[in-house]
Amino acid sequence: METIKLNETPVRTARNFRINNIKLENIEIPNSLSNFKNVTISYDKNKIKVEEKANKVDLAYGLEHTLTEQVKTEANKNITLTIDSKEKAEAKINFKFNEQNKELVDNIEIIAKENTNATVVIEYESTSKVQNFHNGIISVSAKNSANLNLVIINLTNVETNNFLAIQDTIEANAKIIYTIVDFGGKNSITNLYSNLIGKCSENRINTIYLGSKDQLFDLNYIGELRGEKSNIQIEVQGALTDNARKHFKGTIDFKKGCKKAKGNENESCMLLSDTAKSLSLPMLLCSEEDVEGNHSSSAGKVGLKELFYIMSRGFTLKEAMKLMVRARFNEILENIENEEAKEKIINEMNKKLD
């Protein structure tokens, strides 16, 4: 049991704004890990190579030193996916937590070779109510002109501590589209660092989160634009009910030399109870003249007019709320092609909002 301080923002602001990092108390970081067996990997065998090993990648940011070291030295699951096909390839990794598989420390490496095109789905889900621990690193390398669709779904239970650090490098003309569904965890702490080094490199991050009970989400997304005409779009949509809290820290950093780069960040939080809390810090850092950066952030209640309209069509208040949240999430959910995964997400959404 200990208190840890994690997910530091790249630039600090006043300490009493309480957003530079997140302090968590009584977090048990397990030190002797048993094997995590409940994992299924399905993939197109002639297009993707899967190996049960992964390089120890140095993280530019990461969540916190102890957690990063744990993945590097003690991971109980190492997976490397190498995508090597011009035709559309697919892979799905599913981690199922249960009584026997309570603790997962995973190190996943995804290499999208030049000119490839793939969708990778990674799911973390709990099948029991027992507390789980997840600490993972996903490192992604998108080579020249690669196209990667990366779907990450967190459906762990509300007792779980969920830690995830994602890091990518995007080369010239390559594109990554993230779809991140962050619903699970007592504490769900995510760090996403994107390094857009190539000319015309592109990253689209689409995240939905849904918090209920005492859930805490801390999202720290950092996009560094280095390549000329590089482009990052961050779209984060969420809803919070009960005492749930969310911290969103989004940084778009225009580094010198990223001429004609574009960065857009849009963050919006629906507050469904008067005890839910939304804290956000949408940062724009700029050391280059010829760029376009925008961010917008909003928070508030579901519009009464809209609610009334839906209820006038025979829906109860609860149903109307669900519909509004669903409507807000739909565009991002559309990115998920896997019907089975999508259905699971929608079920979970309905359950949480009941």
């Binding site: 006043a14 507050l271 925008n294 961010h295």
Partner: protein
Amino acid sequence: MKKTELNEINRNIYDIKNKDEYDFKIKKGLTPEIIKEISIQKNDPDWMRDFRLKALEVYNKLELPSWGPDLSELNMDEIATYVRPKSKLNNSWDEVPEDIKNTFDKLGIPEAEKTSLAGVGAQYDSEVVYHSMKEDLIKQGVIYTDMETAVREYPDLVKEHFMKCVPVNDHKFVALHGAVWSGGSFVYVPKGVKVEIPLQSYFRLNSPESGQFEHTLIIVEENASLHFIEGCSAPKYNKVNLHAGCVELYVKDGAYLRYSTIENWSKNMLNLNTKKAIVGKNAQVDWVSGSFGSKISMLYPMSILNGVGAKTEFTGISFAGKGQNLDNGFKVVHNAPNTSSVVNAKSISKNGGKCTYRSLVRINEMAKNSKSSVSCESLMLDDFSVSDTIPVNDIRTDEVEFSHEAKIGKISDKTIFYLMSRGISEEDAKAMIVRGFAYPISKELPVEYAVEMNNLINLELEGAIG
């Protein structure tokens, strides 16, 4: 708009250096003995001397901020915190010593007093040398005087409010201010009195390797209103000067206060200023702020909306040129239902300058049905300047409407082409666009100050773009 105005500006106005002549200059550094000496020199009552010594203790305990610009070049051992000019407080410009009066003449203060102000205060180094207000306001019970006089003559009012809005332990430089403060203005507007014409205090720091720590305390009673303007400037020296003023504004129920600032400190100044307003029921405080000078600026005026229906608006612009790091912004805390805040912040970075917009919007649990809308825009004029936007939005209840928007970019080539196709040169087109960009702020200022601001923009732009 007219070219003629462009040529009239003269940076020299701000750079007039008078001889470093003074009546008394405290030795450099910061010790209890030095504080006691300042207290003796200023003829403080006992409570104020004790207050200063306690503030020094707090100062010694607090650390430098772990964020924002690097302040390591500041060495308090090299700064004289109290410099008494060779002038007593006067209520006629004729009695102000020649060289000091000349400085204020060139800054246009006595002229503005005649044409557009209801009262003027002028501080030179650590003490106020001139203070005067129109007769009819005196009759209505308005008090406008220097802070030292207020401590002597209105001890109860001062004790009740002095450093209660901005407590000494707020941050290190507030504690420093508490220990060494000197000068500044005290304004009291009684219930229901509307002061239609602005009051202005002007702060001038002439002495090298020194600091200015003026304290401004304004109380606007119920249903009263006031427009207060502060201006500041200093000539440039090679070594660091420090400004750590403190502004405390009490805007009581139904009252209105507009606080405008044109800051043009010299580029060796560290401007670590603190400004805060406590706003009552259905009251409103509006901040208008133009930040052009200083080497480093850390300035985040704050509105605390404590009364139901309280409102605040912040309209600000920062313009950072070579060697400048302007870390400015705004803070607002919504503590009551039906409160609202509107923020419109702009910045311009050029010639290697750095602008940061840093802010906090906090809507607390009890602030039901509150609204906040924030808009930030940053203009980059070249590719070796820097512009950062660091806004924190802390929303703690659901019945709110909160929105924040920010944009960063350069002047569009298409817009320049459009203006040039109407016969306007590239330089003029750019200056025109920048002035247009700053217009939402300059239009909030009294006309002479809007002109001064445009002049400052033109001055900053001269030779820098094109």
